[in-house]
């Protein structure tokens, strides 16, 4: 069993992993950059080690600093969390070579699944459906045009070494093909130094459904059901839920079976996620086509949705499996109970094009409500810096039905005062009340196409309440707002942050 775990991450996910270690009697080592001295995750761990300057590339992404922190503290295992180095096969390999247990898949599997082309080839060979497409051997304009004709319109041209939308073009007709091919090649060459193009079918208005998979070193590979993640803004997930309102029992059976096949075919170990695009345009969900998109070889931000709906602890299972133990559950023992839904609270201003915000949390009071879990890595008076992801907290609600879970999540977000930094909570509340959301009609492109429908609400009715309280506070002469002394006071609204399960 793992004895001492170094967590190569920060914020809420580091705190979440530390909580699971406590229950398993595993000692924890937190790491922190200069910007994170004294941060919640450093306080929660048994010990904390500085690893470098604020910029992530000099600290949370600096493999040599992390390896020497592991050596210096005598850690025997490393958990990468999500983001940062979690999908960096070089980091997994460095851990393996240093004799450290890496809490994730073997580095070779990570490397294979990290390559779009190789992952696609592995899935095709295993009989997992992929979006129809190809890398034409003939990379001339003529060759790419022939490939498009073969795959059919609308098509999507992508850079093989691409990402972030660069070198990507939609082609809806032959007349625009040449211009798009040349533009995509130019962009790919400039951005990635490689102009090789890939052609695939464009799926219109798809839904994003992903399957949690888990495999151990004893030949067990299972799934822990799906998560619906179609509510996205610029490919960034905003709301995640389980069960997916789009899956019928027959479609769930097909898609989870494909995900387990993918896990077996790739030689997967530990927790991972298979992302699929589901095409519901033909109407019948039972027989709807779905396509493998990519495999995420790590824990997901939205893992808590699965934990609540299936009643399991995925991080604990990760630590057990990494230690060489068998999976703690069989497929037959798992079921989805009720409905779980998560909202990501970001420091961003929906009124200014979702511009990320930084500053100090002058007030930060997590609500305590039945059926609501909050994963966070900040406390009142903490600063949200410009250096890292602007996510402040995840709010996850669990209830008997989707409608009740949505109502519960809205209630939790309304009772979550965050002052000093503008957040997306008013936007989340608009979204959760929107007809298209309650009817589960939001596909992956919806928010980007209809962002105007989530315009800021009219606040005037509540303004007199705000004014009256501000006047009272000004008379009170509170000079210690947001200070540590204030935050530490005995106060029912101020509780220790972190992982709670209701």
């Amino acid at each position: 069993m793992i004895r001492r775990l170094l967590i190569a991450n920060r914020g809420e996910i580091a705190v979440r992993i530390i909580r699971a270690c406590r229950e398993l009697d595993i000692e924890t080592v937190a790491v922190y950059s200069d910007a994170d001295a004294g941060a919640a995750h450093t306080v929660a761990a048994d010990q904390a080690v500085p690893i470098g300057p604020a910029a992530a590339k000099d600290s949370y992404l600096a493999i040599p600093s992390l390896m020497s922190a592991a050596r210096a503290t005598g850690a025997d295992a490393v958990h990468p969390g999500y983001g940062f180095l979690s999908e960096n096969a070089g980091f997994a390999r460095a851990c393996e070579e240093a004799g450290l247990v890496f809490v994730g898949p073997p580095s070779a599997v990570m490397a294979r699944m990290g390559s779009k082309i190789e992952a696609r080839r592995t899935m095709e060979a295993a009989g997992v459906p992929v979006v129809p497409g190809m890398v034409p051997d003939d990379q001339t304009d003529e060759g790419i045009r022939r490939a498009i004709a073969q795959i059919g319109y609308p098509a999507l041209i992508k850079a093989t070494s691409g990402g972030g939308g660069k070198g990507m073009r939609e082609v809806t007709s032959l007349s625009e093909a040449d211009a798009s091919i040349q533009a995509a090649r130019r962009e790919a060459q400039q951005a990635f130094g490689n102009g090789t193009l890939f052609v695939e079918r464009l799926i219109h208005h798809p839904f994003h459904v992903e399957v949690q998979i888990f495999a151990d070193a004893h030949g067990h590979a299972i799934h822990v059901f799906e998560r619906e993640c179609s509510v996205q803004r610029r490919h960034q997930k905003v709301i995640e839920e389980s069960p997916s309102p789009h899956l019928t029992p027959a479609l769930r059976e097909r898609i989870t079976r494909a995900a387990v096949q993918a896990a077996i075919a790739s030689g997967y170990r530990n927790a991972g996620t298979c992302e699929f695009l589901v095409d519901l345009s033909a109407g019948d969900a039972d027989t709807a086509p779905f396509y493998f998109l990519e495999m995420n070889t790590r824990l997901q931000v939205e893992h808590a949705v699965t934990e609540l709906v299936a009643g399991v602890d995925l991080v604990r299972a990760q630590l057990l499996v990494a230690s060489g133990e068998p999976l703690p559950w069989t497929q037959a023992a798992l079921s989805q109970r009720g409905h779980a839904i998560e909202a990501r609270v970001y420091a961003e201003d929906p009124r200014q094009g979702f511009l990320p915000q930084a500053g100090r949390l002058l007030r930060y009071r997590e609500p305590r409500l039945p059926g609501v879990r909050i994963d966070s890595g900040v406390r009142e008076a903490d600063a949200i810096s410009v250096y890292y992801d602007p996510m402040i907290a995840k709010v996850i609600a669990h209830a008997e039905t989707r409608a009740l879970a949505i109502a519960r999540l809205r209630e939790a977000l309304q009772a979550f005062p965050i002052l000093g930094i503008t957040t997306n909570i008013p936007f989340l509340l608009q979204l959760l009340a929107h007809d298209r959301f309650t009817r589960a009609e939001i596909d992956t492109g919806f928010l980007d196409r209809h962002v105007d429908e989530f315009a800021p609400p009219d606040q005037t009715a509540l303004l007199p309440f705000a004014r009256a309280a501000i006047d009272a506070e000004a008379r009170q002469g509170s000079s210690t707002v947001g200070s540590r002394a204030d935050a530490g006071q005995a106060d029912p609204w101020q509780q220790l942050t972190g992982w709670r399960m209701a």
Partner: protein, 136 residues
């Protein structure tokens, strides 16, 4: 509408009753900026709205001369400075590129004019409302 009844229930937390409606309000005062939270809605007011003084981001003298300040909207690193003192610029021209949270944020001239002064260097960290460039 009746006068508001306000009851303090904890640090920065109040129950406000107006005309039979009752809401919990959380507030935080930060210099001239006043924040309040009511039912998931956040209000960000300045002391101006209540009759007290508001902090000015430019000197009164500068304002009289018609100088337009270009300020940092958030804490950020200065990635690139295009503005050169004395140069004429067109509205919309990029003056400074900031970087925050892995995103580039271009600051553009809000009007045609001449750069009066540049107050930032590449690589420097700047705070919100810091005047980076002055435009006349």
């Amino acid at each position: 509408m009746s006068d508001p009844a306000v009851q303090r229930i904890g640090p920065g937390a109040y129950i406000v009753s107006i005309g039979g409606r009752r809401e919990i309000v959380h507030v935080a005062l930060d210099g001239a900026t006043q924040w309040a939270h009511v039912r998931g809605e956040v209000f960000r007011l300045t002391a101006d709205d209540h009759g007290s003084q508001r902090q000015a981001s430019t000197s009164p003298a500068a304002r009289e001369l018609g100088v337009l300040p270009i300020t940092a909207p958030m804490p950020a690193k200065v990635l690139k400075v295009m503005a050169v003192a004395g140069a004429a610029v067109k509205k919309g021209e990029t003056l400074v590129i900031l970087e925050a949270m892995k995103m580039e944020l271009p600051l553009r001239a809000s009007a045609d004019g001449v750069i009066v002064a540049v107050h930032c260097r590449e690589g420097e960290l700047v705070q919100p409302d810091a005047v980076l460039v002055e435009l006349s």
